[in-house]
């Protein structure tokens, strides 16, 4: 774990690290099954001025069906918050309710309260387009637009009406996403030709080009190999000073490595109609959740007895 962090810094400074070296280190991480978190302890309490999201008894419905219930979370500025849990527990659904992406599904609706910097995100006066400019999203599968690398990154600023200074925005976004060195000589090439890991970093560059306050990442590494995954993780650590990050992940080691706080979701199956409803079981600092969880279900999950 520590080894990976160190090598990450080295990679960023030197830009190029031999593939074998990285592979061995990542492999070490993969075989290391015990999740011992070595990082500075995160205080449990969050001061009001640092509070970015406050979800109170949030539920998400698809039609009559309640997909997730009982989500109570307080998300702190400039922290990385991980949402973990078994498949179908609704963690992605919750993530998508944080920037109103669920609006794209006609039957989806929320109950409860979700405050973004004190403003109710589901107030009828809220413009979802403006919400998504402030709360960007990176998706599970890299989804570059069939346009040039430049046009991909410039897309967000352009639809926001920006015409000048796009070159600078593209360069700084690609630099933040640690992709600039690899693509600076072929910005006009199609983004479809990039590798999966590069495409995902391009998605991150595209998301930060509109200068959001929050980045929502929905299993951003699930389609990537360990090397590309390590790159994304070190990138998250680099940019968390500027952004508040929420990440959904299936990979508990990843949650333990990158996040400050973690929420564990589980599933309840209704025997009568075989419907599965997700719920937030435990939400606390990553250190506590992985070393000394309060809930038995959390403990079973992180020790591999369930899920």
């Amino acid at each position: 774990m520590v080894g990976l962090r160190t090598s990450s810094k080295k990679t960023l400074k030197g830009q190029l690290v031999s593939a074998e070296e990285t592979t061995t280190e990542v492999a070490d991480v993969e075989v290391d099954r015990t999740v011992d978190v070595i990082k500075e302890p995160v205080p449990m309490e969050i001061a009001d001025e640092d509070l970015v999201f406050k979800a109170s008894d949030l539920s998400v419905f698809y039609g009559d069906f309640r997909a997730v219930r009982n989500v109570d979370m307080r998300i702190k500025r400039n922290e990385i918050t991980a949402l973990i849990g078994p498949s179908g527990c609704g963690k992605s659904t919750v993530l998508r309710s944080f920037n109103r992406m669920n609006d794209l599904i006609p039957t989806a609706r929320v109950e409860g309260e979700l405050l973004y910097q004190g403003v109710d995100l589901y107030d009828e006066r809220v413009d979802p387009v403006e919400v998504r400019r402030r709360i960007g999203m990176v998706f599970q599968k890299p989804n570059p637009f069939p346009k040039s690398i430049y046009d991909n990154v410039a897309y967000g600023p352009r639809v926001a009406g920006r015409k000048k200074g796009l070159d600078d925005v593209v360069e700084s976004s690609l630099k933040k996403a640690a992709l600039w060195e690899e693509v600076k000589d072929r910005l006009n090439d199609s983004a479809i030709g990039l590798s999966g890991g590069q495409q995902q970093r391009l998605s991150i560059a595209r998301a930060i080009a509109v200068d959001p306050e929050v980045l929502l990442m929905d299993e951003p590494c699930s389609a990537l190999d360990p090397i590309a995954t390590a790159r994304i993780e070190e990138l998250m650590a680099e940019i968390k000073d500027e952004y508040t990050i929420l990440i959904v992940t299936h990979n508990m080691q990843q949650a333990a490595r990158v996040s400050d706080r973690t929420g564990f979701f589980s599933v309840e199956v209704d025997e009568e109609n075989d419907r599965r409803t997700g719920l937030l079981v435990e939400y606390t600092t990553t250190e506590k959740l992985f070393s000394n969880p309060d809930d038995e279900r959390t403990e079973n999950y992180i020790t591999g007895r369930f899920g």
């Binding site: 400019r133 069939p146 897309y155 639809v159 926001a160």
Partner: protein, 316 residues
Amino acid sequence: MALTTVGGASNATRRVEDEIFRRGRDLKGTSFRSLMLSALGVSILILIVLIVDVFVDGWSVLSTRLPDFITGTLRSQSSSDALGISQGLLGSLWIAVFVTVLSFPIGVAAAIYLEEYAPRNLLTKTIDIAIRNLAGVPSVVYGLLGLFLFVQTNNGNSTLYAGGITLAILVLPIVVITSAEAIRAVPSSLRQGAYGVGATKWDVIRTQILPFAAPGILTGSLLSLSRAVGEAAPLILVGAITGRLAPRGGSFVSLDQLGDRFTAMPIVIVGWVQESGRDPGFAAAAGAAIVVLLALVVMMNSVAVTLRNYFENKRG
């Protein structure tokens, strides 16, 4: 293969050989394949016979006076040196203009509304099915519609715009269906990616959906154009007749023609085939006219394919 290895191969190898070597022929598969191949052969054969037949019929005209034939006009005698199809070509050109100006914008816009804006409910489902059925309605029925709407309301006068609008309505459902299919094929990851960086619905349609769907929309639209240019039945009903659509005011193409009586390539062909009983020379003229019409349709389809390839390359 088996014979050469008998000496050296172990029993185990021979057993595996027994299991994985080909046993007999896949009779069902082979016969199914032959059946498909012969079906394809029949289609191509019919097409070849058709093309050869019209070429042979029209050869005496095509080989001797093709340029004059294209610029010539309709005559009562097939022996006339001035016999030609210019009026038919002009009428078909006008029809193409009507389809392009009316069916394409309205059809594509309707498809965008249906796919992107309309809520999914019973009403829109019904509309969807209705449009699909409209695309299958026989073209004569559209001719009747045109007759009532544009000819009888105009004191029974047949006009070029009546024919043009009727054919535009005929292909409208086809344009809607093919455009809707193309829009539906746009990957949802593109929409989500665009919405995710704060694009509005209109941004997403303008910058993602239309560029991605453009090849499909173009192909469908241009194929429907070919269909309109080849239709005869509705035009007969709305009163396209042979021997009309003269150049007006000294210019070959003029907006005044819209209110004139008119003809079109399929009508010219039908007329000449009928005349060939009285004057056998018209058979050759009809054959030559068919070749020209075929060439026109092939040209339109080539444009469609070229444009589609261009836009597909562009979207990477």
